[in-house]
């Protein structure tokens, strides 16, 4: 018979290991190696081309004294927080409405989901037009006789990020709805019955029983939404270009501009390293939530 002695550990599942080589390479070279490279070069004074002249934390000091960076961070914080909360709320609301055994469920679901199919570029452009005071909603409402109606968030530095949020929500809440709906459908029908027998109103059942039961779905959703928020870039490019002024700048754009427009790679690396640090702070609690209690993935 083929194996009478214990085969070598390395050769065990050899095919599986070979098949996983692309993944290992990606993980080690790209996600780990590249990130490390970027972090290392953020301590140089590289300009247009990477070079290894060490300058310590100089890039970071400069970064944190740059107004545009601070504005970017603040914008991302506002957008991220609101996007997270509102897309979860809106997505859940939509899913809960669709879960009421309504008619035309497929139709409504498609309506809520289709924005997810279009690119951020399209999303940004559309909402730029809709929120254009000379052309879009404001003009339309004014022409109905409400002449004092104002809706021009994209031209108000204090409101522009909310204008972006409207577009972001439009784009992303459909997917959240989809995930939530799957979660709701996965909940034991008997729990609903039990709460009905207990005489608990529907909203309370959702709030105190159903939502806590949907933790796995919520975690998945959270991961997807958060990963999307940090990468916020295309939408800004298409909708506001960072303006008015620098009022809607975001870190991803800051990095891009620093690396390619200002040709200060190291500054861009420093900024992206800061983004990485922020991400790690997001991931740690998530990993804890996800894997903390139980073993085995």
């Amino acid at each position: 018979m083929a194996h009478t002695v214990r085969p070598s550990r390395l050769l065990k599942n050899l095919n599986a290991k070979i098949a996983a080589v692309p993944m290992m390479l990606t993980a080690v070279v790209v996600f780990f190696g590249f990130t490390l490279w970027t972090v290392i070069f953020s301590f140089t004074n590289s300009r247009m081309l990477p070079r290894s002249e060490w300058v310590g934390f100089e890039q970071y000091e400069r970064l944190w004294s740059t107004r545009r960076w601070l504005v970017s961070i603040e914008n991302l914080a506002i957008y991220g927080f609101l996007m997270l909360v509102l897309s979860l709320v809106l997505g859940f609301l939509l899913a809960a409405l669709l879960d009421q055994r309504i008619r035309f469920e497929d139709g409504f679901r498609t309506i809520f989901l289709y924005p997810y199919a279009v690119s951020f570029i399209v999303t940004g452009l559309v909402w730029q037009w809709l929120l254009d005071p000379e052309y879009g909603l404001q003009k339309a409402v004014r022409s109905l006789g409400f002449t004092s109606f104002t809706l021009d968030p994209l031209y108000d530095p204090n409101l522009v990020i909310y204008g972006v949020l409207i577009a972001g929500l439009w784009h992303g809440s459909g997917l959240v709805m989809c995930l939530m709906l799957a979660g709701l459908r996965g909940i034991d029908e008997d729990v609903w019955k039990a709460s009905r027998v207990d005489g608990i109103p529907a909203w309370k059942t959702y709030l105190f029983i159903v939502i806590p039961m949907m933790r796995p779905v919520l975690v998945t959703t959270l991961v997807l939404v958060t990963a999307g928020i940090i990468k916020l870039y295309d939408l800004i490019i298409a909708q506001t270009g960072g303006g008015p002024g620098i009022a809607s700048e975001v870190p991803a754009k800051f990095v891009f501009d620093a690396m390619f427009v200002s040709q200060n790679l190291a500054q861009g690396f420093a900024a992206s390293t800061m983004m990485l640090v922020a991400v790690i702070f997001v991931i740690i609690p998530w990993a804890y939530l996800e894997f903390g209690g139980k073993k085995n993935g």
Binding site: D188, D190, K193, A194, R196, D198, P212
Partner: protein, 361 residues
């Protein structure tokens, strides 16, 4: 018997399919009624209608004399226990027990009192501060019962509460539920497809098939005098043996099966003088073997094809006139495959069904 839950002409349709077909049922106060039937026969549907979780298409439901057909589940005075427990996973056991009461604004000390009583009764006091995930299956089911208990209602509904548990636990909890019923004296309606549960728990059993009740009677009656071939076949394990027989109109007191002539003068007819093709049914445990066989009115010799020793008893599989024929013998009986067994058959203990409508004759 004063009727506590009363169902009149209940009909429920899913589109063109009627799941409950003009069903009538009266359940007395304090009665333990078991709804028994195979999967898909409409037991859960009926229970959900009584609970108010499904809207019937037609008919009405009375609880304590009041028409509750359109009332909210929480207003019907019912408590319900589910197969999957349906505990609220993120609340403690105490939270689970009290959620409904707190919601109904029951005073604090009243809640306390009821929880104490229920948890005492079910011996779940040490678990009160745990979450359901930290409980075993049996404990969860006990909490689920407790949740119904604290509602202080007249009618308890159980939907296969034990079928997710393993055999040992099932037997234990079955006894607990029976005891609970004896102590509380509430009306209980209990859905199951396990005949042992039905036989041991019920005051009366309603056997359902295809949305109608085939027979509603006490367990012994159902066991000894099944009204329908389906009931006879469904109840009893191993199932009843059926022989293809004919009652000739010329000799209405003899059933002929194969080359046997079975005298029926001691058979307790439901429909006297019935003739024609029939199923002659006899339970494996009602067949006499050994010495007793020789004194039975009818005797046959069978070849044991397969012997299943099961500890306390032994099952023997054989064939008679081309159909499988089982007998149940004592656990210590020494018999092996290939042996010939003389079997005695007492028509008094048999059940005979008309072949066309499958009803008892």
């Amino acid at each position: 018997m004063q009727s506590n839950v009363s169902i009149k002409n209940l009909r429920l349709e899913y589109g063109p399919v009627a799941v409950l077909k003009d069903l009538d049922l009266d359940i007395g106060k304090g009665e333990f009624l078991v709804l028994l039937g195979s999967s898909g026969c409409g037991k859960s549907t009926l229970l959900n209608c009584i609970a108010g979780l499904l809207e019937p298409t037609d008919g009405s439901i009375f609880i304590n004399g009041q028409n509750v057909t359109w009332a909210e589940p929480s207003e019907r005075g019912i408590g319900m226990v589910f197969q999957s427990y349906a505990l609220y996973p993120q609340m403690t056991v105490e939270g689970n027990l009290t959620f409904g009461l707190r919601n109904a604004k029951v005073p604090k000390d009243e809640i306390k009192r009821r929880v104490a009583k229920a948890s005492d009764m079910l011996q779940i006091q040490p678990l009160l501060s745990r979450k359901p995930a930290a409980l075993s299956g049996g404990q969860r089911q006990r909490v689920a019962i407790g949740r119904a208990l604290v509602r202080d209602v007249d009618v308890f509904l159980f939907d296969e509460p034990l079928s997710n548990l393993d055999a040992k636990l099932r037997a234990e909890l079955r006894v607990e539920i029976k005891r609970l019923h004896q102590r509380l004296g509430n009306t209980m309606i209990y859905v199951t497809h396990d005949q042992v549960e039905a036989m041991t728990l019920a005051d009366r059993i309603a056997i359902m098939r295809g949305g109608v009740v085939l027979q509603l009677a006490a367990p012994k009656e159902i066991y000894n005098r099944p009204a329908h071939k389906y009931v006879a076949d469904f109840i009893g394990s191993p199932a009843m043996n059926f022989l293809d027989a004919v009652i000739d109109p010329r000799e209405p007191l003899i059933a002929r099966a194969g080359d046997l002539a079975i005298p029926l003068e001691h058979y307790d007819f439901e429909r006297h003088g019935h003739t024609g093709p029939v199923w002659f049914g006899i339970r494996p445990e009602n067949l006499a073997t050994g010495d007793a066989a020789n004194s039975a009115p009818v005797q046959v010799d069978l070849i044991a094809e397969l012997v299943e020793p099961m500890g306390a008893e032994t099952l023997v599989w054989s064939t008679l006139f081309g159909t499988p024929f089982k007998l149940r013998m004592d656990g210590q009986a020494r018999i092996e495959a290939g042996d010939v067994v003389r079997v005695g058959l007492d028509p008094k203990l048999a059940s005979i069904f008309d072949k066309s409508d499958e009803l008892r004759v």
